[in-house]
Symmetry: C2
Subunit: 406 residues, 2 copies
Amino acid sequence: MRENRRAFLRMAGGTLAGAGAATRAFAEGEGPLEVPSWTKEQGATAPGYGRPAPGEALARYPRLPPAFPGAVATVTPLQGLHGIITPNGLHYERHHAGIPAVDPDRHRLVVHGLVERPLVLTMDDLVRFPAVSRLHFLECSGNTPWLGARPDWTVQDSHGLMSCAEWTGVELATVLAEVGVKPGAAWILAEGADACAMSRSIPLEAALDGAILAYAQNGERLRPEQGYPLRLFLPGLEGNLSIKWLRRLKVGDQPFQTREETSKYTDLMPDGSARQFTFVMEAKSVITAPSGGQRLRAPGFHEIRGLAWTGRGKIAGVDVSTDGGASWRPASLEGPVRPRCFTRFRLPWRWEGGPARLLSRARDETGYVQPSRDALVSVRGTRSYYHNNAVFGWSVAQGGAVTHAA
Amino acid sequence: MRENRRAFLRMAGGTLAGAGAATRAFAEGEGPLEVPSWTKEQGATAPGYGRPAPGEALARYPRLPPAFPGAVATVTPLQGLHGIITPNGLHYERHHAGIPAVDPDRHRLVVHGLVERPLVLTMDDLVRFPAVSRLHFLECSGNTPWLGARPDWTVQDSHGLMSCAEWTGVELATVLAEVGVKPGAAWILAEGADACAMSRSIPLEAALDGAILAYAQNGERLRPEQGYPLRLFLPGLEGNLSIKWLRRLKVGDQPFQTREETSKYTDLMPDGSARQFTFVMEAKSVITAPSGGQRLRAPGFHEIRGLAWTGRGKIAGVDVSTDGGASWRPASLEGPVRPRCFTRFRLPWRWEGGPARLLSRARDETGYVQPSRDALVSVRGTRSYYHNNAVFGWSVAQGGAVTHAA
């Protein structure tokens, strides 16, 4: 960061203010600044549970009109967020049959199948187990549609089916050790208590790789739309596997071929075959500022800001282009970089006032590099709906308007 | 964590469930579990800005009746929180003249005094500067009163004037480089736009040590009670220095001796002198579960959970006693441990059902060890109000009731 700032200060000729808009010099003799009304009277008191500032109107909204009532995906306003934490009130959410109003005292988790000691657990039981708290992103496999891109997209429209939070709960491995997994076990069915009994098959190795039976998010108990009182959380894997309102785990020796992994959540390939069980969310990045719908108000210094993430571990680097890919510069990463977590990247940029095209390209610690859209299409074709992690671009027009440009 | 879990499993004889309350075996032949009402019908849709689950009633409240209207300190419900993040709606807050309703478009920050280029900055100017995002705790110097301890205290009462969040903004060092600090500069006056123009003097070295002009918290813009649209944030230092609704920074060559650092926020020593400018919050820790007002419902396994923090850098370790200090065991720290940030600690414990006395003692990377109350009193006496970082205890009675015991 310091290095980037020095680079910028050189670029800007020593003063940021020189590039600024409303910044102005202050003369000691000019007398007091305005004393506004809010300094002249006692203010209010905060509520017991606070709310955002009245003028700050960030909100989730359904990305698409629901196909039927109860099947909704709402998107996080990434264009207005800073750092890596998504406040709980703005975490994206997806439900397939509405949000059940679960009574936590009556809720039960059954763990059965290929286990030595099948159990029924209450929430109180689960909270007594040894706990962990970890920062992780969650991304819907349908985040960033392949087709139907629109120039008026905001980053909330294009990438809002992802968020990042601190999740607390019991490691699934702890509960599996408790019930005793039998030889031959290879998959686990996870089932929700919502009206569609949302169900997915989880490979046992994923269940043992940091999976959490989560009951808290960013400190407090889960919100209803995040699976209250209990959800599965599988770091780095497509969001729909992290079954909400979790009521059952059944251990088996093969996948359970549920509706959501046969009729849906597969990738239709060019030859007509379907990729099934495509779990890991590969390295991806997006510029959140400047982004679609925003406007650069004056030439001069701007910090390009964005997010990068990978289901494979840690982000190793992000390159940014301001000329549509002709040249790339490494962005700085805000540390500490955490595994399977958002990483905020930043790059100082001097906008001269003319057209520009902004792109970001992430790579992760495995050496994997976020592909171009052409490279991705050459492998997957255009009949697929999920798992679009291609490089994504914003165009800046003369005058500063920002729109999506593939 | 894994090591502790294994230790516990040995201790518990192989099964957690054996120690549990409502956990019960599940027999495959017993037929389906209850299918509750919420699984039988479509659920609701989430609001644009979400709210906690209806049954989860965590809230801040004033720690003491306000001395006069507009001077309030509300406390964070640490007993109900998990991990290290405090949701914005529950972050403690302290105001001296109410919460001003600042118009961000009219708000200005003046930077003047011993500087080359005094400036008036708008919020848009500030957001354009290079930004940083960092996780830090904030603690009021008056957190945990020395005197008047009450057995019915919850940890919200005793330690709730502290919270932890991800803060985003411009490094103060960046803005100071922009205005050009003159030779001889040593202190900075920070002034708020609230009705008392809350003011403190900040040593220049603290201003250059990671201080942030913060406009966002846990991703979103500051809440009104946290200084919207702009606050100073001084990591590791007593909370009242992090001036909210920040409107002015004046660079000088000596402290400004404001009301808040002469009539208040000093430590009265046994000899009648006052310690002034006691900035750094020293290493401290507290057990949040089990804690005052809670009740252990059954003998057997319990995870002792708590928070540790230090204004000097990173927490190096936390020792926990369950026998009033006769013996101590090292707790595990949830990593990555961050500087000047909450660190969550955990220790497996088997409660046999009898009386117990729980204590925690933190040490930081400088080698400093959280003192006993006796050790602290021997140096500071009992006339002081602020900066009580002594070891703190909870008593567990026969039957499981938990109360404060110094």
